[in-house]
């Protein structure tokens, strides 16, 4: 290892409750260097940063393996305060700004410059006065380093997003001992010109001797400004290369890796079939998963995969189709328009949905399995109901029989149909969600993240069940997943969603490079 590294992470590993999420990561950064870190969701980027910042989520779950060196000396970081004291700064993805404060007050948040007064001499430092003159001067000089012309005494509320981002950076720059600055997806919220300005500012900051760790999924930006690039995949350190020795295509391939799990499915060519569902300029205002204009056709009887990185909007599409978030645009089902923003209408059309947020949206955790399975059908299709005029009663007998049937069909492990769903394992909860959707006898099944947080055996059962439904009943399935391997194992076609739009549609057996490029916002290369 070079002796003049400002930050060295050696053999870093971390496991949560016995699951290894990070192992043997080695990163060394010199002063003035920009070091890029790329990887898919779940590659371990955020865990690594949490370790660097001593976040409590790491230390409340048994700490980490390996060692950290700052300026060549071993460092123990057990709290964010430690990290700050050692000169590590972070520009957060979500803004840590107080809107009613001025830029100065935000830059100096909890690091205010104080001066004593008669009262503070008696009652202690907490009653020292704020020295606004000095604070404004400091803030000005930090903003000047970023070439921001805005007055330091302006209020943050109402500033464009770009300025908020720069205010955050100024706050870090104002810390006199700053040595390492981490940028976590800083360009995600910025317009293109703002992003350029940011990249230039990063170069200038690095030129002043501060090391930068740059986390992003935009490979173009990475190769533009980084000196070294580290690729993480599934918690392992794939490679670290100097920029000169690599390019966007190689990085894309390394990031995705070879994940072909199941070669048993030869994908069908479905493009000759009838169009079942057409989306035109679909826009979904789902916080964190915004869809910015999707045009996509779904063919009758196919399994369509929706892939892409987290936050890019893939999750939003199904939520928009089901009317769960404000949606505009057109969606045609068998050529007739669907009423958007109306879950009841979507279900009446024959859609059923298994949500990505199983515990939040998918289940009534404190209710029985049987009620969970029957609920949507009761509310929307009047199944399992006895009715006398305006009065209704749930038909507990048929609800019970129906639940027993699904417990058997989907192999839901439980003590019985009256067990509370909260007490089931993740996989079995997922099966309850699927059973609820199937009870509606849907024409199109939308499934989001069906295997998130469930163990390997259960994953298999869930995926097999989906394929069986497709093959035996001809049910059209739109499956959204962050796990590319899983999509490639059962889908006929896979649409990659990036920046809220369809970046491209690939076959499951397309090359890793193409998947990687589409996911990082580049054009796919010629066919593999």
């Amino acid at each position: 290892m070079a002796p003049n590294t400002v930050l060295r992470m050696e053999h870093i590993g971390k496991s949560y409750y016995g699951t290894q999420v990070l192992k043997d990561i080695n990163i060394a950064v010199k002063p003035g260097e920009i070091h890029g870190i790329v990887g898919e969701n779940g590659a371990g980027k955020s865990t690594l940063m949490n370790i660097l910042f001593g976040m409590s989520v790491i230390h409340s779950t048994g700490g980490y393996e390996g060692s950290l060196y700052i300026d060549g000396t071993s460092a123990s970081i057990t709290s964010p305060q430690d990290a700050m004291a050692l000169g590590i700064g972070m520009v957060h993805q979500e803004f840590m700004l107080l809107p009613n404060y001025t830029l100065t007050e935000n830059i100096k948040l909890n690091r205010e410059v104080l001066k004593p007064n008669p009262i503070s001499r008696v009652f202690g430092d907490n009653l020292k006065s704020l020295d606004f003159a000095t604070m404004n001067r400091d803030a000005r000089s930090a903003l000047d380093r970023l070439h921001i012309n805005i007055e330091e005494y302006a209020q943050v509320a109402g500033l464009p997003v770009g300025y908020m981002q720069f205010t955050e950076i100024a706050r870090e720059l104002d810390k006199k001992n700053l040595k390492v600055l981490v940028f976590d997806e800083p360009t995600a919220v910025l317009a293109e010109s703002e992003a350029d300005h940011l990249l230039n500012a990063m170069k200038e900051i690095a030129a002043s001797g501060i090391a930068i760790l740059f986390i992003t999924h935009r490979l173009g930006e990475i190769v533009e400004i980084c000196d070294h690039i580290t690729v993480l995949r599934d918690g392992t350190h794939v490679v670290t290369k100097p920029k000169t020795e690599t390019d966007v295509f190689e990085l894309a391939e390394l990031m995705v890796g070879s994940q072909m799990e199941a070669a048993d499915q030869s994908s069908r060519d479905t493009s000759q079939r009838a169009k079942l569902l057409e989306m035109r300029n679909l826009v979904v205002h789902m916080p964190g998963e915004r869809v910015r204009g999707v045009d996509l056709d779904v063919y009758d009887g196919e399994i369509l995969g929706l892939g892409g990185l987290a936050g890019q909007g893939k999750i939003g599409i199904a939520n928009g189709l089901m009317g769960l978030f404000p949606t505009t645009g057109d969606a045609l089902f068998n050529g007739t328009p669907i009423a958007l923003n109306n879950p009841k209408a979507s279900m009446a059309q024959g859609f059923a949905y298994v949500s990505e947020d199983r515990r939040g949206v998918g289940l009534l955790l404190d209710s029985s399995i049987e009620l969970n399975i029957a609920f949507s059908a009761v509310q929307n299709q009047e199944q399992f109901i006895r009715r006398w005029g305006p009065f209704t009663q749930l038909d507990s007998g048929s609800i019970r029989n129906h639940a027993l049937q699904y417990i058997k069909d989907l192999d839901i492990r439980c003590t019985g149909p009256t067990q509370l769903v909260r007490r089931l394992s993740g996989g079995n909860q997922q099966k309850v969600c699927i059973a609820r959707a199937l009870t509606m006898n849907p024409k199109v099944l939308l499934v989001s993240e069906p295997t998130r947080g469930i163990d390997v055996g259960a994953k298999r059962i869930v995926l097999d069940a989906l394929r069986r439904l497709n093959q035996e009943l001809g049910m059209t399935i739109i499956m959204t997943s962050s796990e590319l391997g899983e999509l490639r194992s059962i889908c006929d076609r896979i649409a990659i969603v990036t920046d809220g739009r369809i970046a491209g549609i690939l076959k499951p057996n397309d090359s890793d490079v193409n998947f990687g490029l589409l996911m990082s916002g580049q054009q796919a290369s010629k066919g593999a």
Binding site: M322, L324, P343, K344, M347, Y353, S355, D357, G360, V361, G362, L363, L364, L365, D366, S367, L371, F375, S376, V378, Q379, N380, E382, I385, F391, T392, Q393, L394
Partner: protein, 355 residues
């Protein structure tokens, strides 16, 4: 054994356990001090039936997700308007028609219904706009409405002699139901004695009937939708339930039950209390359902029944027990009610946790 005991304490909650222990202590003390148990039991039964429907009014509010209805005084006022109006009708028409007490009681409920539906609708609409702060807003809706009704009582044109002051403006503070024979009409229906204990059969039957209807409602399609809307609004929305409509419906139901509840209360007490009367009644009902084991987010009919029995039982027994200890402790009953009632609400608030 140890773990089941822990589970039991965990599910009861420490505050409820203390209250339950206090209740047991009071009962033991009553036996030990040779108080008139039959009389205590008689008045306990009457008090439980008297308050039961008002406590039950908490259920649809909690189930639909708006939290304990601190503003049930709105429903109470609807009930009072219904009661006053039915008396007024009886007075105005007494030349031509003679109305029986049972008819008047039913008429009062019937008149209260449209008021409760309208008021509940507006109140529910408001609660939908202040999600997350429902309890505080509900409290002040209650306070505000009670205080504006204090003005209204001065102006409303009720002229029946049992209501209007002989001179001056407005209706009386307490209105007797004895003239029309409505006093204890439920209490005395099929009432019987076991030894010295008088069982107010009609009163308890009426409470039981309300509980049973609520039970049927919760097992209906609409009831299931309301339950889902309160338990997990995002789930309900995704399953095609209109959560805001369910919350409004729950509020209307709660308001109507509040109206029925005060009429039941009034016939047992013999008077309708206006002006300040309804101001602090919601807190008693809220505390009762919480003592029964409900939280600000979850409640069942069992919680209502147990809570009513426990809280009102304590109120009945505490006073004679305290007096039997020492004559100086005359205010102990009222003080212990205040501490228990507000202590259990505070406890439930801390259990709900911050945001």
């Amino acid at each position: 054994m140890n773990s089941t005991l822990k589970d039991f304490i965990g599910s009861m909650g420490i505050a409820r356990l203390i209250i339950f222990a206090f209740f047991v202590f009071l009962c033991a003390a009553a036996v030990f001090l040779r108080l008139d148990l039959a009389e205590l039991l008689t008045s306990s039964l009457a008090r439980i039936g008297m308050w039961g429907v008002l406590v039950l009014a908490m259920l649809p509010a909690i189930v639909s997700g708006t939290g304990p209805n601190f503003g049930v005084s709105l429903g109470i006022l609807c009930g009072l308007v219904g009661g006053l109006t039915s008396l007024e009708i009886a007075y105005r028409l007494q030349e031509s028609v003679v109305m029986g007490p049972g008819f008047l009681f039913s008429l009062a409920i019937l008149i209260a219904l449209p008021f409760a539906v309208l008021a509940g609708f507006g109140y529910g609409w408001l609660l939908n706009r202040v999600k997350g702060s429902e309890m505080m807003i509900a409290t002040y809706v209650g306070f505000s409405v009670v205080s504006i009704m204090k003005l209204a009582w001065l102006f409303l044109p009720y002229s029946s002699p049992e209501m209007a002051w002989p001179i001056g403006r407005g209706v009386r503070v307490q209105i007797s139901l004895a003239n029309r024979g409505i006093t204890r009409i439920l209490n005395d229906f099929l009432s019987f004695r076991i030894g010295d204990v008088i069982v107010p059969t009609g009163l308890l039957l009426f409470f039981a009937l309300c509980c049973f209807l609520m039970y049927l409602f919760l097992r209906s399609k609409s009831g299931a939708a309301m339950y889902a809307a309160g338990d997990n609004p995002r789930f309900a929305e995704a399953a095609g339930v209109n959560v805001n409509a369910q919350r409004i419906f729950g509020t209307i139901l709660s308001t109507f039950l509040g109206a029925v509840g005060i009429l039941v209360y009034a016939q047992s007490y013999g008077f309708m209390q206006l002006y300040e009367g309804p101001m602090f009644m919601p807190f008693v009902a809220v505390a009762a359902v919480l003592i029964g084991g409900a939280s600000v987010k979850k409640a069942t009919i069992t919680h209502v029944v147990i809570g009513t029995a426990l809280f009102l039982g304590i109120q009945v027994i505490a006073v004679p027990v305290a007096n039997a200890f020492t004559a100086d402790w005359s205010s102990m009953g009222e003080i212990s009610r205040k501490i228990i009632q507000n202590g259990v609400i505070l406890y439930a608030l801390t259990q709900a946790g911050g945001d």
